[in-house]
Amino acid sequence: MTEPNLSPADVSRLYRSLKRIRRFEEVTAEIYPSDKIKSPVHLAIGQEQVSVAVCDVLGAGDWVGGSYRSHAMYLAKGGSMPAMMAEMYGKDTGCCRGKGGSMHVIDVSAGVMGSSAVVATQIPVAAGYALAAKRAHAGHVVAVFFGDGASEEGCFYETLNFAALHALPILFICENNGYAIHEPIAKRRAKPDEICSVAESLGVPAHRVDDGDVFAIRRIAEDVVRRMRKGGGPALIEAKVYRWREHVGPNEDYDQGYRFEDEVVPWKRTDQVERLAAMVDDAARARIDSEIETEIADAVRFAEESPIPAAKEVFSDVYA
């Protein structure tokens, strides 16, 4: 783990973002068995720091795109928490008005393009946003988040090549948690450690962070995004992380036999939420924590009290 080399205000901002996502997902998991949430949830608990680090160096006018596992990205980029909770409840006030659920979150005003549940599909779509950003010459960038499994889809290779060829302002972020559902990467790749070299060979500079260090990821992101805004072209960050819960659903699944609890131990020991909590002074941390709890409680209340969509809405918005 590296030193933050950031101001206390920066550290506490990162802490707030991390903790907010962690608690949002923990509360989601607590509500889940009640069946009020009408959507499969893919929790990012344990891997929040990637979204937090990258989104911290992005701003208004920049876009992010991701997969079905996008709660962290959405919240880190400033997506509305009540709208996402209401979406999971299937309510009319949800961010997709009850037509997307947890896997398809969107907040256009915050620069969150819709997320997609067909693995890797947002990789080229994000590059399309980056093409538009390049043509607009306003220095905006796009960041796309995807898993190690997504890096095996053909469109990952195709998009890297196109992005390099056209020097697109796009940051590829591979959140390598070592599994695609229950299949470990060693059963899927002859060379599990060579995701970065795939990118490099196509002309996309790549950086790997092995220990989940939020500051290290942020530093690299800051550096590559700064160059990208000036026309420096795409980059890739592979961040090794670990998914603490089951692939989909609220529970842990170390008893299922495809992986074992000893794998998560080192990751829990270096949990970035706890690590940053210890860097923020007690009074400030208590205030942040309580604000987060209030915000989440408000979001849950908003979702519970929101109206359900009218039946006729099933036909609206098929076409623009």
Binding site: K99, V118, E158, V318
Partner: protein
């Protein structure tokens, strides 16, 4: 005296090119990309001159990566641009299916009406001169199946221009199906921009004995069949749907209700095809009391061969269309077929090959 807007004879290929050029002039968000759009052959001439006029930011080739390029087109469209993605054969669009079906078609709905995908995907059906199994498929019914997509299949130069302009201005993804054999055909086309809007079919010939719907270039073959039928005393009403989705079923149903016979001739297979859809939708809308006799025609239920002698058995032609229409219209009379030397397709008379 001719005015600048007066219709003048124009080839289908030039109508396509003119439509795109005029829209690129009007709206700088429009751009054209796809394999080989900027080379000297310029997609059989349909993108000729665009690179020179608009530059390589707006007219550019791509790597051979149809899947990702479709995603990039979709993302650019969502971000406010208006891409035209070009494929020289429709068969290659199978590599685009994931993005078109799972993202483009779903985007508006799945993201609660906050995202638009103003995308045009051009592709061409190939036919003859050994195009064969993988360069000849009309896959429009696969796209018609999916809510969220629109499908245009213009059969003449006028509609090629009008549909193209309508497609570019549409805020939804449009699958734009062209036919290689129509590229050289001419019709009168207004010089000024105009649209042929989605969801309105055209009655090409009027008649009371049988309704023939012809899809894409089969509209042209059906019109030829109607001429042959007229000589035998059968008046056929030929309808060109122009847009397959949204589909103007009312115009077709009204005609079929009157003629009591409906023949749908497609540029694709019958099973689960556009012809099956049209027949079913008409019968549902008019009810059993209308007493309509129906028939589908399309690609033979086999794979497209390359040998011309086999290929002749694969496609409907004016002779087989006329023959089928006669059977529907004159069920009590002996079979009739026009003489084979009069049933050639236009390209068989003019075409010298190769593509």
């Amino acid at each position: 005296m001719s005015t600048p807007d007066a219709p003048r004879p124009l080839k289908y290929v030039d109508a396509l090119r003119e439509a795109v050029e005029q829209e690129m002039d009007r709206d700088e968000r429009v751009f054209v990309f796809g394999l080989d759009v900027d080379d000297h052959k310029s997609i059989q001439g349909s993108t000729r001159g665009l690179l020179q006029k608009f530059g390589s930011d707006r007219v550019f080739t791509t790597p051979l990566s149809e899947d990702a390029m479709t995603g990039i087109a979709i993302g650019a469209a969502m971000a406010g641009m208006r891409p035209i993605h070009v494929h020289i054969r429709m068969d290659f669009m199978l590599l685009c299916m994931n993005q078109l079906v799972n993202i483009a078609a779903k985007a508006s709905y799945m993201w609660g009406g906050q995202v638009k995908v103003p995308l045009v995907v051009r592709s061409m059906i190939g036919k003859s001169w050994g195009q064969g199994a993988q360069h000849s498929q009309g896959l429009h019914s696969m796209f018609m199946h999916v809510p969220g997509l629109k499908v245009a299949a213009p059969s003449n130069a006028h509609d090629a221009k009008g549909c193209m302009i309508a497609a570019i201005r549409d805020d939804n993804p449009v699958v734009f199906m062209e036919h290689r054999l129509l590229y050289g055909t001419e019709t009168d086309v207004p010089a000024a921009p105009f649209t042929v809007e989605p969801g309105k079919a055209r009655i090409c010939t009027h008649g009371d004995d049988v309704t023939i719907v012809g899809i894409s270039n089969m509209a042209q073959e059906a019109i030829r069949a109607a001429e042959l039928l007229a000589e035998a005393g059968v008046q056929a009403e030929v309808i060109d749907p122009i847009w397959l989705k949204p589909l103007d079923i009312d115009t077709i149903a009204a005609s079929a209700k009157r003629t009591k016979r409906l023949l749908v001739v497609d540029n694709g297979w019958e099973m689960c095809g556009a012809s099956a859809e049209i027949v079913a939708a008409v019968l549902e809308s008019v009810g059993p009391e209308a007493g309509i006799r129906v028939q589908r025609m399309g690609f033979a239920a086999t794979t497209c061969p390359t040998s011309p002698w086999l290929e002749a058995e694969f496609y409907p032609n004016p002779g087989t269309i006329a023959q089928a229409a006669w059977k529907l219209a004159r069920p009590d009379q002996p079979d009739w077929a026009p003489s084979p030397d009069r049933t050639k397709l236009a390209y068989q008379v003019q075409f010298k090959g190769p593509f």
